[in-house]
């Protein structure tokens, strides 16, 4: 492979709960994402998509496996190492609810410059960079003084994307970033994300909206009950899914043309999956 691996996940296993309630939510997941590559993570609610993202971000401990971010093994990283990694801004994330990824008491401008000031960037330079990135997500500099609560959902999510970009990360993890947006803002945010790949950033895009996954990503990984059941180029996963679960997932997505026709197909796939 030409492009360098930005994220390597090897044989990852995560458990939730203790004692008799302990259950495995991720089972032997391995995945590599290169710079400039966008990978889509799909699967139903509870399949482990968000847990995988959280484990990579160091927010959930894992019982087995290895996570390497930009060449750094973070599997045994302690709080201090994570703090340095986060400060360097190598990995960033955007959640569905932008009120959660942004500090509600911090004006947009402050949210954008804070990570840069922590890194020791001079004030003037940080301000200029904040303006540049706001412009990159098609937002006006007038918004710099506003609180996140005073923005529309679409504006706020674009601010969250700008904040994730401002430290020039190698990897961005996006968990359902467009699910709460109306269709105009959805297209706008997806176009911005698409532009990022060209600047060499690796994207992990988690979504149950197969249309946006198909339009944005190079490869798709399918999670089912904590296991990766299928990984492959987006085009072939969408058009020639192999695993029964992936086939049901693709056939279930509402489309303008053929969805009703696939009803009997879906019924037999459901029977197969639950057998």
């Amino acid at each position: 492979m030409n492009a360098r691996a930005v994220l390597e996940v090897e044989d990852l296993e995560v458990h939730y709960g203790l004692g008799r309630r302990r259950r495995r939510v991720l089972d032997g997941v391995s995945l590599t994402v290169s710079g400039g590559e966008a990978i889509g993570l799909i699967g139903e609610t509870g399949s482990g998509k968000t847990t995988l993202a959280r484990a990579v971000l160091g927010l959930v401990p894992f019982s087995r496996g290895r996570v390497v971010i930009d060449g750094q093994d973070v599997s045994k990283a302690r709080a201090r190492q994570w703090r340095d990694l986060r400060r360097a801004g190598v990995v960033q994330y955007v959640f569905q609810d932008s009120l959660r990824s942004l500090d509600p008491d911090l004006a947009v401008g402050k949210s954008l410059v804070e990570p840069l000031l922590i890194q020791g960037m001079p004030r003037a330079e940080a301000d200029a960079r904040a303006r540049a990135f706001l412009d990159r997500v098609h937002l006006d500099a007038d918004l710099l003084g506003r609180l996140p609560g005073a923005l529309s959902g679409g504006q706020r999510q674009r601010v969250a994307v700008a904040r994730a970009l401002v430290t020039e990360p190698k990897l961005i993890i996006l968990d359902e970033p467009v699910s709460a947006l109306d269709s105009a803002n959805r297209v706008l945010v997806l176009e911005i994300l698409k532009g990022l790949r060209e600047s060499g950033i690796a994207l992990v895009f988690i979504s149950h909206d197969l249309g946006s996954v198909a339009g944005l990503t190079d490869r798709i990984a399918v999670l089912y009950q904590g296991e990766l059941v299928e990984v492959g180029p987006t085009r072939s996963i969408i058009n020639a899914p192999q695993h029964v679960y992936t086939r049901l997932l693709i056939d279930s997505a509402p489309t303008l043309r053929s969805a009703a026709a696939k009803r009997s197909e879906r019924e037999s796939l459901r029977a197969l999956l639950h057998a």
Binding site: V187, G211, R235, I238, N239, D251, T255, R257, E267
Partner: protein, 271 residues
């Protein structure tokens, strides 16, 4: 004709402002009409008018709604009670908010059957189990005695559909009924509605902001914007030959990141 909405106008009595400016459609048994449009376009208000549950300060100021031969403007409260559930019924987006969290779900549906069909408890329970089976819940006996918090979103929506069809209505309104569910469960619910329509002749009004959801189920589509119907016609015509620029925009936005664009033609796929 089961439900006929003719040139319906809805007005805010307090501000005097008209919110819905003339919407018409007709439902015969087994027919499915879809209403699409952004939030605030008047989709839900139209449904609420048909159910006789408009918010207090809103009123139907012109046009008429006829439900199973009755002009609903002339219905008394008692007559409405007789019609709701047994002639017209509805499911909405958030199923958990329509069920009592401290009562098992089965008895809540049984209550509907006891009141509407005047049957004994044991018989009502049997009918509920039958209903839970008909909405494809896998373990009806155990679902019967579960509480809402023990069920997933998809299971709850099935329970709600079971409750909505418990008194054999002729019309079911599904207002964003699958919006909060993930793709696989959404398809299961839509397939269930299609199956109910074929098996029982249930007529449906499907409200969604997602054009593809409506495309999957409906014979006729109404596109609403700011209280106006900007386009109305067969699903085929509206989707494939949209006339109004707003419909064209909705379709363009869907297609830019819609799965259609990335799927091979369905004929090729079948081969």
């Amino acid at each position: 004709m089961v439900l006929s909405v003719r040139d319906l106008h809805i007005r805010d009595q307090v501000t005097g402002q008209e919110i819905v400016h003339g919407i018409s459609f007709e439902l015969t048994p087994g027919k499915v009409v879809g209403i699409v449009g952004e939030s605030g376009s008047g989709k839900t208000l139209t449904c609420r008018a048909a159910l006789g549950i408009l918010p207090d300060q809103l009123e139907v100021c012109a046009g008429s709604i006829t439900l199973a031969g009755h002009d609903i403007a002339e219905l008394s409260v008692k007559q409405w009670t007789g019609l709701r559930g047994s002639t017209i019924s509805a499911v909405f987006q958030d199923p958990s908010s329509y069920l009592n969290p401290s009562i098992q779900v089965g008895p809540q549906i049984a209550e509907v059957i006891r009141v509407k069909k005047k049957v004994r408890r044991r018989e009502a329970r049997n009918q509920v189990l039958q209903l839970l089976r008909s909405v494809q819940l896998r373990h009806p006996e155990s679902v019967y005695s579960q509480y809402t918090y023990e069920l997933s979103g998809g299971m709850l929506q099935r329970v709600l559909i079971a409750a909505a069809i418990a008194a054999d209505p002729e019309v079911l309104i599904a207002d964003e009924a699958t919006t909060a569910l993930d793709v696989i469960v959404q398809a299961e619910i839509l397939d269930l509605l299609a199956e109910l329509r074929e098996r029982t002749g249930l007529a449906l009004v499907v409200v969604a902001h997602d054009l593809a959801v409506v495309a999957q189920l409906c014979d006729e589509v109404l596109v609403m914007r700011q209280g106006d119907v900007v386009e109305q016609g067969t699903t085929q015509d509206v989707l494939y030959r949209p006339q109004h620029e707003y419909t064209q925009l909705l379709i363009a936005e869907h297609e830019q990141y819609g799965l259609d664009r990335f799927l091979n033609a369905p004929e090729l796929e079948q081969a």
